[in-house]
């Protein structure tokens, strides 16, 4: 499967990826409307960074299987949402083992990475990342 991978040794935690994702897909400056997430954790004696991005699990993806209305479907290389069918039950969010189905409190629908399939030039987070930390892997 094609998916995004973040090389955490390069990532600086600038969250440009999160901003770009929301700006591209929602035309909004809002880090909580992003399908990719970088979280920097501050432990008392260290700093840890993790990323969350859709694994594009395929036709049998847990989110697709969990959707009671068929609103989530597999389309070639990514999960696609049919808003008209979505009832905002959030079963997909619970089902995703990677925490990669994102909900913003003010937005009804799940936010799931579609690899920018609707945008020229492929995943924009990878393109914009200043550290070159985001790769598209197969």
């Amino acid at each position: 499967m094609t998916r995004l991978e973040v090389d955490l040794s390069k990532c600086s935690g600038c969250i440009v990826c999160m901003q770009v994702c929301a700006l591209v897909h929602f035309k909004e400056q809002n880090t909580t409307k992003s399908a990719i997430k970088i979280i920097t954790e501050y432990l008392p004696n260290s700093i840890k960074r993790i990323y969350i991005a859709c694994h594009q699990c395929g036709e049998n993806a847990p989110c697709i299987s969990a959707c009671p209305t068929g609103a989530l479907k597999w389309n070639k290389d990514h999960v696609e949402l049919d808003k008209e069918k979505c009832i905002a039950c959030r079963n997909c969010e619970t089902a995703c083992p990677y925490g990669a189905v994102i909900f913003n409190p003010d937005y009804k629908y799940p936010i799931i990475c579609n690899l920018c399939s609707d945008i020229d030039g492929g995943p924009q987070c990878a393109k914009y990342c200043p550290m070159g930390a985001i790769k598209i892997v197969k």
């Binding site: 600038c14 929602f26 400056q29 909580t32 979280i39 920097t40 004696n45 700093i47 003010d106 200043p130």
Partner: protein
């Protein structure tokens, strides 16, 4: 015309005494004419704090302010300004901190927070789009910053933006800072002590609202161009490897590396605590602010059995906690820096005041009796760490040093004032200026006391000619104060893309256009910057009740004794030269010979009310 984005449009006003809060509309005037950050801070403090207010009383207000570009997809937009009347200088005090707090505050629906009064018991504020919670901080009062950060994030959100104080702020150490994200610090003018005086342990924000932007596609386009410019700039690779720590080697080469309490400009062990060795031996993580394409954060781990620590390192920390104390072991500098960050005290002022104490000790101005047997000799690492603890806990002589170098030197007397390296009570940061008159002028005339953040002209001065004395020098100081102390402190974004990698300033009006929909020119922004500085100056004059040009002088040490080694050996500042530069500076600013803004200058900026205020307290203003 109203704006369409950039600013959120709301300011939060919190009253800790009453445990209440209200929202204040961001007016068109405040947005357009004062921009944000430092502009808002001085306007609020001038208009709302009674003159002569005790900075550590509930009557002092804290202003935490973003600007129209903060938290947006704009290079290095992670800054926030924290301001109040300074307990260290008794004048206007502020500092900026680079972190992820700014966007969280804006996504919570606020451009700024004003905090008034004093909580009855320790609290922290949790700000979200749902409102403000006053949460008890009894369980974290007394704890270090690192542990507090961990606990607070568990109690709120992992990704929350945080501004935290440590025991330094709680104990009202006059140079206590506000900290975030393991090593980010702001407000070296004692903003941490102002937090502490209000029983305020932390301000935490977490938001999910959209920050309005006039032209989102335009924002994406401009960032794309900016990113390419920055990552392809000459020096980029070295910058992201070494960040500001590369300045160690540079300062050593030109003889401005503060050593032995600013007595010398070179240090024999400089290369052991420089940028190159840091990357090779100690660096383990790169860390940056919001939207930064050139992250400068170097997280280091020590390599010694005895000195164990991990910390984010910057140039200033190495200079003040290393060479200035005669310490040439990175492991020790890491441990000292980590201690300062965890306790929430400013590394610059701490290193400065400890260097002062060491010089006092070596000169016999303080003795073993005063230090309780601590041998405060330069290079004594154990003594330095112990002294840092005494300062934070205000024990023994630490209690005096916690008041800052000006107050400590006045108390010690016996000529100690002559070796106290400060301007207006704020300790000088990492540049020795025995042979750098323009940089000395920058320290002398900085808005908050001796700090480099406004007019960091030293690199320019070394290229231009350190020995030259002409109008170009004060002009450069003013230009940098406008750009760095003015524009960047108001926008609030970081100056480093411009100053370090030549990122063009023209981008800022462009970003303002796509963010706010409003047209600004750089000249308009600079005029606002000059207005802001004039009001800051008026604040100082009002607080002191008088003004003298001597307050704009650099430390007397730079006039009186010369370094003995390196490129600045034998150099001293000349009083005549400095006075000449200062006269030209005042003239260009429209201030009189005593550094007081002329009436015509204040009127030009629409600050007519200031004339009346100053005349009322007996200040004579020139026409």
């Amino acid at each position: 015309m109203s704006w369409k984005g950039g600013w959120v449009g709301k300011i939060l006003v919190v009253d800790l005494s009453k445990k209440s809060y209200s929202n204040m509309e961001l007016t068109k005037e405040l947005a357009r004419d004062w921009i944000g950050g430092r502009g808002w801070a001085i306007k609020w403090l001038y208009e709302n704090i009674k003159p002569k207010t005790d900075p550590l009383s509930p009557m002092n207000d804290l202003v935490i302010a973003t600007g129209p570009l903060t938290g947006l997809l704009v290079p290095s937009s992670g800054k926030v300004v924290i301001a109040a009347k300074s307990p260290l200088t008794n004048g206007y005090g502020d500092g900026n901190i680079g972190s992820h707090f700014g966007y969280q505050l804006k996504q919570s629906g606020y451009d700024a927070v004003i905090i008034r009064g004093k909580a009855k018991a320790p609290v922290y504020l949790y700000i979200t789009p749902n409102g403000v919670e006053f949460r008890s901080a009894e369980h974290i009062w007394g704890k270090g910053v690192f542990e507090t950060e961990y606990i607070i994030r568990r109690e709120t959100e992992k990704e929350a933006g945080t501004l935290i104080i440590g025991p330094g702020g709680e104990n009202l150490v006059k140079f206590a800072t506000v900290m975030s994200e393991h090593g980010r610090a702001g407000g070296r003018t004692g903003m941490g002590a102002v937090f502490g005086s209000k029983n305020l342990k932390a301000v935490v924000a977490y938001g999910w609202k959209t920050i309005p932007v006039a032209d989102p596609d335009g924002l994406l386009e401009l960032y794309w161009e900016s990113k390419l410019r920055i990552i392809k700039a000459e020096g980029y690779k070295k910058w992201i490897d070494q960040g500001t720590v590369m300045t160690v080697e540079w300062c050593q080469e030109v003889g401005t590396f503060p050593t032995f309490n600013f007595s010398e400009g070179v240090f024999d062990d400089a290369y052991k605590i420089g940028g190159e060795v840091m990357v090779k031996e100690y660096k383990y993580l790169r860390k940056g602010c919001m939207s930064c394409p050139m992250p400068c954060g170097n997280v280091l781990i020590s390599k010694s059995e005895k000195w164990r620590g991990f910390v984010e390192m910057d140039y200033e920390n190495v200079a003040l906690l290393g060479s200035n104390l005669g310490i040439g072991d990175y492991n020790v500098v890491i441990v000292l820096n980590q201690y300062a960050d965890d306790m929430g005290v400013d590394t610059i002022s701490l290193g400065n005041v400890m260097g002062f104490a060491m010089e006092c000790y070596e000169k016999g101005l303080i003795t073993n009796k005063d230090t309780k047997g601590l041998e405060l000799k330069f290079g004594n690492a154990e003594a330095a760490l112990k002294l840092a603890e005494m300062i934070v806990k205000r024990e023994g002589i630490g209690d005096l040093l916690a008041e800052g170098v000006r107050a400590a030197s006045e108390k010690i007397g016996k000529g100690a004032q002559k070796i106290a390296v400060h301007v207006k009570g704020l300790e000088v940061s990492g540049y020795d200026c025995h042979g750098a008159p323009a940089m000395a002028l920058a320290y002398g005339t900085s808005e908050i006391g001796a700090h480099h953040k406004s007019a960091w002209v030293i690199a320019w001065e070394m290229r231009y000619g350190r020995e030259k004395v002409d109008k170009a020098k004060p002009d450069k100081v003013i230009e940098f104060q406008r750009i760095r102390g003015g524009m960047f402190e108001m926008l609030t974004t970081c100056r480093l893309p411009w100053i370090e990698l030549g990122y063009p300033l023209d981008y800022y009006p462009k970003f303002l256009k796509v963010a706010t929909g409003l047209d600004f020119t750089l000249d308009q922004i600079y005029t606002i910057a000059d207005k802001v500085y004039a009001l800051i100056r008026a604040f100082w004059i009002r607080e002191y009740g008088h003004w003298k040009r001597e307050y704009d002088y650099p430390p007397s040490k730079w006039f009186e004794t010369a370094p003995t080694k390196g490129p600045s050996a034998g150099m001293k500042l000349s009083k005549e030269v400095y006075d000449n530069l200062l006269d030209m500076y005042y003239e260009a600013r429209g201030w009189d010979k005593n550094g007081i803004p002329r009436k015509s200058t204040l009127k030009k900026y629409g600050l007519d009310y200031v004339i009346e205020d100053l005349e009322k307290i007996g200040i004579t203003l020139s026409e």
